[in-house]
Subunit: 340 residues, 2 copies
C-alpha cells in the first residue's frame, strides 16, 4: 500500500469520529466507559508502528538549575511532507551545527524557538554547512490524492443533501459536514495531523508540539537551521505559510515551562537568559536511545480513541461534544515496553 | 440595549470574518496591511470598555526564586454566565479563603490548578466559608436569545442553499457555513468567546487562559474554591461539563511557565513543589491596582481585528487562512493608558 493509499484509507476511519455530528449515545452496558488511556493501553502490539531512530532528532540542553539533564526528542515528518527542509535538518545535525547554539525565544501561548542567536547579524552569524537546499514555497503543501478527494466529495455531498432533504434546519445540515475553521478537510492520517482544501493540496497542521522552520519575509522559506515548536493555542494561521518538519515526542514540558522572554515576540533580551544547546544529533548517532512507536492512525484502536475523544463517555462527562478538533486528538506515542 | 441584544448584535459583525469562507483578497493599495497590533492600537477610546475593579480577582503568589513578585489578574465572567459560582468566588475572596493555599497541579498542554492541597481529605480540608451555593449542572449553559437563533438560521440556510444551487461541489457548500468541531455556532460576543447548539443553549468556551471550577464526579459542580486555567490546546471537550468563571488578563505566563507536576494528572508530588498563594482579593480591595479595559467585541475595530486574524495580510503571510477558530481571536485587554 503506497503512502497515498494509506492516507485515503485513514479517511473512512476518522470520518465517523470527526464529521458525523451528534454524540454517540453511551452503551447500554452498566460498566463505565474506558478512559482514553485504557483504550490506548489495550491496543494490540501490531497496531503500533516503529519510529526509525534515523527519523529522530535528539536535542540535549544544558542541565537545569538543579543539575538535571534536559533532553528533547523530535520525530521528523516523513514523505510526502517538507522533505527538502528535512534533508537540510539531517545535514545540519550530521555537521553538529546546533552544538553551542541556544534557545532564544519563548513567547507565551505561541512558540519556543532555537538556533543561532546571532543569525540575523551577517557579521556574526555562524556559517551554515555546505549543500543546504533552498526549498520553494510550493513545498509548504503537497498533492492531494485524487481518490481521497473523490471519496470525500461523495460522502460530504450525500450527507449534506440527505440532511437538507429530511430536516429543513441548518442545525442538521451543518452537523453533516466536518467543521474546521481553517480547512475544508482535516484528518489524522499516516500518523500525522493533516488538512486539505480539496482543490488539490494537502498539508500538515500547527498543533501543540509540532516543529516548524523559522524564516524571514517571503519568498524566503528558511533553511531549517532556525526551528520552533508550538506551546499554546494551535496557530493554524501559520499552516501553508511555514514549513512543518516534525513534532516533539518527548520533553515538550522542558520547553513549554521555560521563562517567557521579555523582548519583542518573546525573544530573550540578554545572553544569560538563553538556554544553551549542548548537542543535536540524529537518533541513530545516539547510544542508548529508547525505541519509540506511534499508534497507527489507521488502526481500529485509533478509531476507538478518536471517537472517544470526540464523545467523552467516562463518568466525569455529562455533555459529550460530538466532535473534536484535529489538534485535540494527539497521536499516542510511547517508548517500546520491555519484552516479556 | 440589554445583554441579549448585545450578543445578537455581535453576530453580524463576526459572521463575515468567521463564516464566509475564502480569504479576502489583499487591497490594491501599495501600503502593507496593518499588523494586528496596529489595528488594535488605532481603536478610538470609545471602543474600549472598562472592566470594573469589583470584577477582578487578584492572586498574589509567593515571590519567585529571584525574589520577584508574582501577580495574576483574573476577570470574572459577567451575567448571564456562571453567576452562581461567581457569587461563591466573591464570597471566598471576601473571606480571604485562598490565603495560604497553593498551586497544586501543572499538567502540560492542559491546566494549572490551585486551591486547598488537602481538599480531598475530609479530615484535613480547610473549612469553606458559610453561605456558598450548590449550583446545578443546568447552569453550565444559559438560554440562547431567540432573535440570535432566528438570524443565524436564516443566514446559514440561505448561504447554504445559494452555494448548493450555484456550485455543485461540497467545497463551496462547506465554505458557506461556520466551522467549529464542538458547536454549531461560535462567536466573540459581549467580550467573551461563546458557543451555541442553536437548540436553545449558549455557553462560554475553554480557550487559553480561561478560568474554570474544579469539581468531582457528576452531579457535583464544584464550589469555586478549586480553580484552574487553561495553558495549552483549548480543551473544548470540557465546555458545558465544567463551569467557566473568568479569564486571566495579566500574568498567565507566571502560571504557564511553572514546572510541570510529575504525579498523575500533573499534580505536584511534594509540598515543596507547590507554589504558595499569599492572597487572593477582589480588585476593589487592592490599592494601586491599574484600571483595565477590553476592546468591545461589538466595535468596528474588533470586526477589523477578527477579520485580520482570519485573513492575515501582513507581509509575512502568503496563504491567508480564510477563517479563524474562536479561541484564536483573543479579546484585546489593556491597562488604561495615562491621560494626556
Amino acid at each position: 500500500m503506497n503512502r497515498n493509499s494509506v492516507i485515503a484509507a485513514a479517511l473512512s476511519l476518522t470520518w465517523s469520529a470527526l464529521a458525523q455530528g451528534g454524540p454517540t449515545p453511551p452503551a447500554a452496558s452498566a460498566a463505565p466507559a474506558p478512559s482514553l488511556g485504557e483504550i490506548v493501553a489495550a491496543a494490540p502490539a501490531g497496531e503500533w508502528r516503529a519510529i526509525p531512530a534515523g527519523d529522530l532528532l535528539v536535542m540535549d540542553l544544558a542541565p537545569d538549575a538543579k543539575g538535571k539533564a534536559r533532553r528533547v526528542v523530535i520525530q521528523l515528518i516523513p514523505a510526502p511532507f517538507s522533505q527538502g527542509w528535512v534533508a537540510n535538518i539531517r545535514r545540519l545535525a550530521a555537521a553538529h551545527w546546533w552544538d553551542g547554539t541556544s534557545i532564544n525565544r519563548v513567547q507565551d501561548n505561541y512558540v519556543v524557538q532555537w538556533g543561532d542567536a546571532n543569525g540575523e547579524d551577517k557579521a556574526r552569524a555562524k556559517a551554515l554547512p555546505p549543500g543546504l537546499a533552498t526549498v520553494p514555497q510550493s513545498a509548504y503543501d503537497t498533492r492531494l490524492p485524487a481518490d481521497l478527494k473523490n471519496r470525500w466529495e461523495n460522502n460530504a455531498m450525500s450527507n449534506l443533501r440527505r440532511a437538507m432533504a429530511t430536516d429543513q434546519t441548518s442545525q442538521t445540515a451543518v452537523s453533516a459536514v466536518p467543521r474546521d475553521a481553517y480547512a475544508i478537510w482535516t484528518s489524522l492520517s499516516a500518523g500525522w495531523p493533516v488538512a486539505s482544501d480539496l482543490r488539490g493540496a494537502m498539508w500538515p497542521v500547527h498543533c501543540y508540539g509540532m516543529v516548524g522552520v523559522g524564516r524571514n519575509l517571503s519568498p524566503d522559506t528558511g533553511s531549517g537551521a532556525e526551528l520552533y515548536t508550538v506551546i499554546g493555542t494551535p496557530p493554524r494561521h501559520l499552516d501553508r505559510n511555514i514549513a512543518l518538519v516534525g513534532r516533539v515526542i518527548e520533553g515538550i514540558d522542558l520547553l513549554s515551562s521555560l521563562p517567557r522572554g521579555t523582548g519583542a515576540l518573546g525573544f530573550y533580551e540578554t545572553t544569560g537568559e538563553r538556554v544553551p544547546i549542548v548537542s543535536v544529533r540524529l537518533g541513530n548517532e545516539v547510544t542508548g536511545l529508547p525505541a519509540y512507536q506511534y499508534l497507527s492512525t489507521e488502526s481500529e484502536t485509533f478509531a476507538r480513541y478518536a471517537d472517544a475523544r470526540a464523545n467523552r463517555r467516562d463518568p466525569f462527562f455529562i455533555h459529550p461534544a460530538g466532535g473534536a478538533d484535529v489538534c485535540n486528538i494527539p497521536v499516542p506515542v510511547r517508548r517500546v515496553p520491555p519484552a516479556g
